[in-house]
């Protein structure tokens, strides 16, 4: 696990009942209260080593409506949607959908994470088509 970023956010009822939480629930279709913070997801995640905020903590931040703290972390962007977390969660909670929901909230504001022109031309020629298509689906709106 990467050294986790220490954060001291201000939790408020307004944030918990705010738009961000509602939208994450709606887009992911998940009941964020199901998570009991066991950390199984973080243990299984192959990208956790590079994450400043672990998957487990992202769920906690998400249900507290701490949008800015999530936005300042790279967690959802280095997630590879491998579904290791989803399949290992003892509560059957689908984290991959929560990660997607958080990504979508940024992408739908017309803010892309990857631009096609930033991929070096030699890579555009070599990358398998499934990489290009899936990359653009996950990283562009």
């Amino acid at each position: 696990m990467a050294t986790q970023k220490q954060i001291a956010p201000t939790v408020s009822a307004k944030k918990v009942r705010g738009e961000f939480v509602k939208k994450v629930k709606e887009i992911s279709g998940q009941n964020l209260q199901m998570c009991y913070q066991c950390g199984m997801c973080s243990g299984v995640c192959p990208a956790a080593a590079d994450m400043d905020i672990s998957p487990r903590r992202i769920i906690e931040l998400a249900r507290l409506g701490l949008e800015d703290e999530i936005a300042n972390s790279k967690t959802v962007w280095i997630c590879a949607s491998c579904l290791g977390c989803t399949v290992n969660c003892p509560r059957g909670f689908d984290l991959s959908k929560v990660m997607e929901a958080i990504r979508q909230l940024t992408l739908r504001k017309n803010v892309d994470y990857v631009r096609p022109e930033d991929i070096p031309p030699e890579d555009r020629a070599k990358l398998p088509q499934i990489a290009m298509v899936s990359g653009f689906r996950k990283f562009t709106g």
Partner: protein
Amino acid sequence: MNLAYYPGCTLKTKARNLEEPALAAMESLGFKLEEMDRWNCCGAVYSLAEDDLIRQAAPVRNLVRAKKQGKDELVTLCAFCLNTLKRANLLMKQEVEKRNTLNSFLDEGVDYAGEVKVTHLLEVLRDRVGWGLLSQKVRLHLRGLKLAPYYGCTLLRPREVAIDNVQDPIILHSFLEALGANPVGFPESTTCCGSYQIVRGPSTIVEYARRILRSASNSEAEGLVLTCPLCDYNLGQGQKELLRLGNTFKEMPLFYFTQLLALALGLTADVCHFELNYGNPESLLREKGLLSRVESLSTSGGPK
């Protein structure tokens, strides 16, 4: 026996070495993989957003067209496509409101509710051919080939679309055993290769590759057996990047399961297109004396 086949975009160019041996091998087993008409890109990944229907249009349209063409099953070779098509299929089966919206939007003239079954070639080999029959058809036993079956994510996750046990799959192991090879299990055989992160550059997947390769080589595997063109690319690029960063290790040749199938059934190596593989798998095969036996099989009038 004819099987309706969905190739996907990658198999026609980058992953010819996955498709061509498969078509030839299945033909020799009495199965014709017949490409379906008018297929489009399936979208590669399943959209995980509940309210996103537009990205479901791509995979669902293929399934509707398969139904219109009178197919009740669609076989795929690409693990990525399998996952996307199978999940989209489940959506059409289980979520009525979304099904109605998609059917109306697609306007293909036929309503679809998940009637077409989506299968992977490995399932066909296990369930339709059977490992016993397959090993009887083997003309070149891949003896001495210690290969690590690498499953990756898409054939096993989520549970609803898994083609085998999610935590302890054996389908590739059994496949390799049927061909006479030694499957070498290793702890990271179902860990992700990094998937689409590769579009952000090779540095993004180097740790994923390192984890998998180190685990496979610690288990004394001499090569990896893959089912997915993206895993193939990432594990190949990963090795290149690790070498570039100054790591020293014995390179791990990468095989597609279909190439091993074709060889074991006595087909010539040229249908396998090993020149497209990473890590020079031909030299490993030669080392085990397998390629020369393939050549002699073909001169003695074996199947081409």
